[in-house]
């Protein structure tokens, strides 16, 4: 036995405790140092070690031993400098000499509480299992009794409505010589409704996202609208929008979000008189699927000049949004007033809807909104949604899956006959495993009028490295290796804004084709198959029963 005195580093962690282990190949490394320079976590450093080297030269073996001091790459055992597995080191290595490897036996969460600080990060719920959405398949195939459509040839209308739709009984209409006319004499309020593409880009703020990322998304959706004729819209997230965009005609493709910190709204309100178009809608954020019960959080190191201008705050200060709106007293009056105030700001021409995190109380919220004539919809963000910064425990263990939450809400609306009046927007984990169109279509058939995506578009448009094994997921520290969630110009210049925009367009065009490939065999093309639950089945009886759809095996 070794004497105890030799184990003086008793409290030091072994690398086996860490989630990713660096595999470095001495024989390939040319010691250029790029990997250590680029590591966002400073997990790897150049180090020198003394080494016993045996060599031989000459015609016959003449072993020769010498001690050399050599440079190596060393992985840190400091928990604060854990390797996130982002693999930026592999990306920059000219000789494929280095890569992180996932360590399934890690004890990371047991140790990631140093100095009493609970683990905070960005990203998503770390659950690599298949989600409910990916357990659903489309099983009603038209063939002989009703011919399928041709996704390539037939005309499809993949559109939805955002805004409260009056029931036909309440439309103020009169018939003159058999022709219908809207009758304005009674002063009946007809809520504004937008026709949009049913997959929208969900709320990600300027600030959480880098300028190049946010602008790339914005340019992409503008191109989709202006050139491709696809009315894709995007929510700003909390934190305002660039002033030049607010004052441009393109603002109609955007949904400014107001959340509990009201960041950016001084600037938005001041811009209203100068707006040449109304925004698409206003989203009031009451909750976020990734971190239910938490408000937004933008760390001080992300609050640079541009962000401080847009948000109307000083530079270099933490910007925590409260977990709840400070003015909120009850849904019946304070929320109703907020919806009305926002509606009033644009002369009741803009739909205003709340967004909540998935919760067992969603139906209670929904039923209050059903009775509010100004509520334009309800967005529900499930537990698989993403965030730029949150406590790990909130992300991993708080929240409600979107599928059953949405289904319950939709069936509740059906029971009341209101399923066409208050659109439901579903979010949280759409495209988690890459099946964007299938997940979106399944949610639509479960009752969603539209779906929102976030992580998927970050991964597809900008190569976000995060995954459900906690790879990367450091959006909160301002050192995003892809330049997506950082305000550091050195990092966000890695992201080409035009390429982001181009990828957004590519993603939506491919999505559109895939949605047609799903809808065509179901025989649907004219209107979105909202609530067409006979078209989907689950491969698990419990899921099928819970969602009130068929089970297939």
């Amino acid at each position: 036995m070794e004497p105890v005195a030799r184990l003086d580093n008793n409290h030091e962690l072994t690398l086996k405790e860490f989630p990713f282990l660096i595999k470095w190949r001495d024989d390939r490394c040319k010691r250029c140092g790029r990997c250590t320079a680029v590591c966002p976590m400073f997990s790897i450093t150049p180090a020198v070690i003394a080494k016993r080297v045996v060599s031989s030269s000459g015609a016959t073996p003449t072993p020769h031993v010498e001690r050399q001091v050599v440079t190596v790459i060393k992985q840190s055992t400091n928990i604060g400098n854990y390797c996130t597995g982002c693999a930026t080191c592999s990306l920059v290595c000219p000789n494929e000499a280095i890569e992180p490897e996932y360590n399934p036996n890690n004890k990371f969460l047991i140790h990631k509480n140093a100095a009493g600080g609970a683990y905070t990060r960005g990203g998503r719920r770390n659950d690599p299992l298949v989600s409910t959405l990916d357990r659903l398949k489309f099983t009603r195939i038209s063939m002989l009794t009703d011919p399928a459509l041709d996704a390539g040839r037939h005309e499809f209308r993949i559109r939805t409505y955002l805004g409260r739709i009056l029931p036909a009984e309440e439309l103020p209409v009169k018939f003159v010589n058999g022709s219908g006319e809207m009758d304005a004499s009674g002063g009946k309020f007809i809520p504004p409704v937008r026709e949009i593409y049913p997959v929208m880009i969900g709320s990600m703020s300027v600030g959480a996202l880098s300028p190049t990322m946010w602008e790339g998304l914005a340019m992409g959706i503008t191109y989709l609208n202006e050139v491709e004729g696809m009315p894709v819209v995007m929510c700003s997230g909390e934190g305002g929008m660039p002033l030049r965009l607010l004052k441009s005609r393109f603002v109609k493709y955007f949904i400014p979000q107001i959340a509990s910190g009201y960041f950016g709204w001084d600037e938005i309100i001041r811009a209203i008189p100068h707006m040449v178009e109304d925004p698409c809608a206003i989203e009031i954020k009451y909750g976020q699927g990734a971190k239910p019960g938490d408000g937004g959080l933008l760390m001080a190191h992300k609050v640079l000049k541009l962000i401080s201008e847009i948000r109307g705050v000083p530079q270099g200060v933490d910007l925590p949004s409260p977990p709840t709106h400070q003015t909120k007293y009850s849904i019946e009056e304070a929320v109703a007033k907020m919806i009305q105030s926002m509606s009033m700001a644009w002369g009741f021409r803009v739909p205003v809807y709340p967004k909540i995190s998935g919760t067992r109380t969603a139906k209670a919220v929904l039923n209050n909104l059903v009775r509010n004539p100004f509520a334009a919809g309800l967005s529900i963000d499930g537990e698989d949604g993403g965030t730029g910064a949150a406590y790990n425990v909130s992300m991993d263990k708080m929240g409600h899956p979107i599928a059953s939450n949405l289904r319950d809400c939709y069936l509740d609306l059906v029971k009341q006959g209101k399923q066409n009046e208050l659109p439901l927007i579903a979010a949280g984990g759409v495209g988690k495993k890459g099946n964007l169109a299938a997940n979106a279509a399944a949610l639509i058939m479960l009752g969603a009028s539209a779906v929102s995506i976030g992580k998927y578009i970050m991964q597809a448009a900008a190569g976000c490295l995060g995954d459900e094994n906690n790879r990367c997921n450091v959006c909160n520290i301002g050192r995003c290796p892809r330049g997506i969630t950082t305000q550091d110009p050195k990092l966000y210049r890695r992201l080409d804004v035009d390429k982001v925009a181009m990828r957004v367009v590519e993603v939506y065009k491919a999505l559109d084709t895939e949605l047609k490939k799903i809808f065509a065999p179901l025989g649907r093309s004219t209107e979105l198959p909202i609530g067409m639950s006979d078209a989907i089945s689950a491969d698990d009886p419990a899921i099928a029963e819970r969602l009130n759809i068929s089970y297939v095996c």
Partner: protein
């Protein structure tokens, strides 16, 4: 795919004409059932036009229960028509087929038509519920001047089975469907044509948008919007909802089931209304493939197509006798002495509307408006 034969005329005619039309188009149906609706009745019903007729099928026990219920509800039986059943191989005769004419309960005669209709609907639904579990009572319609007859079997054999060729049963509007059973088990409640409060329709093809439409109708709070043993029953109820529930002129039925694109709506003189209609009635949009033939309480008949997949359907005839059928060969049988050049094959934007008594045929085109093709 079901075969459809509707005839509307100024003079009374026998349902045998429709059945022979179906026979001409036989290749399309598999004999899994036939439905008949006769409206504007002649023969023995001609003098009883304002009294409600209960059409259905009962077992002996079911009929006794039905009688007890009708007596208790205050309805007085004034006339009964029963087919003279002739045994036909392959058709299992049930105990009682009937069309029974009743007098309203005391005090009801003076009520408005709306209230009478509500009572008749409530009565029909109650009877349906009473006999649904054991099929002891099956009721198809309970309405003045309308008789419905349905059974499983081949139309021509059913004609013989019911003895329709010898019958005095006649009407000015007769809808007949020869059923091609597809998705659903053979169930008489799944057999077209469907009827509710003066409105009737039948359809060929399948309705891919069935579930959202069914959920929308069933949640309107109207007691008659139930059943849906067939995905085509929703077409009748959409018609009723639009014309009776919302008081829309008949041609807006087309705008509801096959809504235009916004760019097309912009060209319509009634664009403001049609734009709102499209949104408010979005769940009632069909995606075909369907040809729908229907009638309204005043005797107006129509044919519409879905907006894309288009089932066969043709309207033709002569003044005083127009037929709306699923196949051209059926039209040749129904009205052979017509000018076939004037046959109308409605396309995706069209709704062919035949006035009561087959006096006038007009085509409503969602983009172009009205065209009169025969008057």
């Amino acid at each position: 795919m079901c075969r459809l034969s509707a005839i509307t005329a100024k003079d009374y005619f026998s349902p045998v004409e429709n059945i022979l039309t179906l026979e001409t188009m036989k290749e399309g149906h598999d004999g899994s059932g036939m439905g008949l609706i006769l409206k504007d009745l002649g023969g023995e019903f001609e003098s009883l036009k304002d009294k409600p007729v209960l059409s259905g099928i009962c077992s002996d026990a079911g009929l006794a229960a039905l009688n007890r219920y009708m007596d208790a509800a205050g309805f007085t039986l004034v006339h009964t028509w029963t087919p003279k059943i002739k045994p036909v191989r392959g058709i299992t005769a049930r105990d009682n087929y009937f069309a029974r004419v009743y007098d309203y309960p005391k005090g009801i005669n003076d009520l408005s038509l709306d209230k009478k209709e509500a009572l008749l609907l409530k009565t029909r639904l109650t009877l349906r519920k009473m006999g649904e579990s054991d099929e002891s009572i099956i009721v198809f319609s309970f309405y003045p001047d309308v008789v419905t007859l349905k059974e499983v079997g081949d139309p021509l054999e059913l004609c013989e089975f019911f003895g329709l060729d010898d019958s005095t049963l006649k009407a000015k509007i007769i809808f007949a469907q020869g059923r091609q059973n597809t998705n659903y088990a053979i169930n008489l409640y799944a057999c077209h044509p469907f009827f509710i409060q003066g409105f009737g329709s039948m359809t060929n093809g399948e309705n891919t948008a069935f579930v959202p439409i069914r959920e929308f109708l069933a949640s309107r709070g109207f007691p008659g919007y139930i059943g849906y043993n067939s995905d085509s029953e929703v077409f009748t109820h959409i018609l009723h909802y639009a014309a009776r529930g919302l008081n829309y002129p008949l041609h807006y039925y087309k705008d509801i089931i096959t809504p235009l694109k916004p760019t097309e709506i912009d060209k319509r003189p009634d664009k403001a209304f049609v734009g709102h209609l499209k949104k408010s009635l979005r769940p009632l949009c069909i995606d075909g493939p369907n040809c729908v033939i229907g009638f309204a309480p005043d005797g107006t008949c129509f044919m519409v197509q879905d907006s894309k997949k288009l089932r066969p359907g043709v309207v033709g005839g002569k003044k005083g006798k127009i037929s709306l059928v699923s196949e051209e060969c059926g039209l040749n049988r129904a009205v052979p002495d017509r000018d076939a050049n004037k046959d109308i094959f409605p396309m995706r934007y069209d709704m062919v509307i035949v006035s009561p008594g087959a006096e006038e045929v007009k085509v409503w085109n969602q983009l172009q408006g009205w065209t009169t093709t025969m008057n």
